[in-house]
Amino acid sequence: MEEYLDIVRQYDVLGAFWVNIQLAFWAALLSLALGSVLALFRISPIGSLQWAGSAYVTILRNTPLTIIMVFMVLGAWGQLELTLATDFDLNFFWLAVVGLSIYHAAFVCEAIRSGVNTVPVGQAEAARSIGLSFLPSARLVILPQAFRGAIAPLGNVLIALIKNTTVAAAASVATETSSVMRTMIEFRPDYIYAIFFTFAIGYVILVTPVGLLSTSFSRRLAVAR
């Protein structure tokens, strides 16, 4: 036991989790912003925006995340020379954040749209009838209610995102959990079960509160009708 704890310290397992938490944090923010814009596109009265929104969702949602992450590194950076930070490792980190964000934005968009469906059409009609045009009525009336109706599905997207941060390994983020676990197993095969459960339980501890919180918030913030 003592020896195993030493191994955990030696390979900086906590630090690895911290990398994934940071990936998840930034990707959550960015995908929430991008996903909200996409949702606006999809509910807008303008046909070309609706089309663009649904094309984005269809393509990104059906593309494997690994494909996107590999593309971020070998395509966007390797060939197109997209550089997000001068520091080598930091650049990979942000490329991974962008890859995670554009992928999960598609799911955020769909979660918000399911929230929009919880808002009766009469709300939009009342907003229009007092003279609010599309953007103000979306911002002031529809989206605030839609977000509150979308907390549970958004929680599910966040849970998926947290777990999917491990795919950052495919974008050469070598300090995140799955990469560290791989190294540990290679060097300490005598502890494979302990290693596996360390990471598995780590994610359970990380993800469970998200599910509990989103359930409780979605109940507490539900719009009374």
Partner: protein, 266 residues
């Protein structure tokens, strides 16, 4: 309106006294609207004058709601012209929004903003559309809420109010925009009977104060007391137009007679 002078011989009606009415405010000209193959509005010609209270009555599915919704362009029309105060309804965008702000609408289902307090429901339009300051908008909102008798509910959320209270807040929300005309689409038909009168009283008061109103309702008491004119619709057409007394006592068309016999006998 005073109808005491209109008790004429059976088949004769003096012209209604319309001296209190102003220039045309809402004008519909040859309006047609289809839902797919269904011709819901058929060549509708209608003029509502400033200060006039028009009651629209007719069987379910005759197009009354569609007519109301076409006037503030919640529904598009396929041909014809609708103008408010001489201005044709613009097709889309900011200009349409501006003109809509001049047309109040009260819905059957109230449609108060569920995530906002009563006070915020009433101040939203004045602040975001008219650009009033928060304090000005709130002062005005409280005055209006007082007028419709729900000032003490200002801090509550819509779901905490009775239907009658919600509908009165909805009226205050419309009034806060200082509309030129108000549309009411069956404002009392979702209410429990004991709450109908509190809403009708507010509407009658508005009518007395000279608000131009188009009211879809089957409340004959309201029509008798407040309406200048009744329009009877059936199958997407205006079948009959008359003063309330004329219409309820001497309907001319068979459709109207048939309809009245049904709503009067229950």
């Amino acid at each position: 309106m005073d109808h005491s002078g209109t008790t004429p011989a059976d088949d004769q009606h003096p012209p209604a006294d319309d001296s209190h009415l102003g220039a045309p405010l809402v004008e519909l000209e040859a309006v047609d609207k289809y839902f797919g193959d269904l011709h819901v509005l058929q060549d509708i010609n209608l003029t509502v004058r400033r200060g006039e209270v028009l009651v629209v009555i007719g069987p379910s599915g005759s197009g009354k709601s569609t007519l109301c919704r076409a006037i503030n362009r919640l529904e598009t029309i396929d041909s014809g012209d609708i103008s408010i105060d001489g201005q044709p309804m613009p097709a889309e965008g900011r200009q349409l929004a501006r003109l809509r702000a001049d047309v109040g609408m009260v819905f059957q289902a109230f449609n108060l903003f569920a995530h906002k307090t009563v006070l915020d429901n009433v101040t939203l339009g004045p602040r975001k559309v008219r650009g009033l300051s928060k304090s000005d908008a709130e002062a005005e909102a409280l005055r209006l809420l007082d007028r419709v008798g729900v000032k003490n509910q200002a801090a509550k959320f819509p779901a905490q109010l009775s239907g009658g209270q919600q509908q009165r807040v909805a009226i205050a929300r419309s009034l806060a925009m200082h509309p030129k005309v108000m549309l009411f689409d069956e404002p009392t038909s979702a209410l429990d009977p004991e709450m109908i009168n509190e809403v009708l009283d507010v509407m009658e008061q508005l009518a007395k104060e000279g608000m131009t109103m188009i009211v879809v309702t089957h409340e004959m008491g309201f029509a008798r007391k407040a309406a200048d004119r009744v329009v009877f619709m059936a199958d997407g057409q205006i079948v009959e137009e008359a003063t309330p007394e004329e219409f309820f006592h001497h309907p001319r068309s068979d459709r109207a007679k048939d309809f009245l016999s049904k709503i009067l006998t229950h």
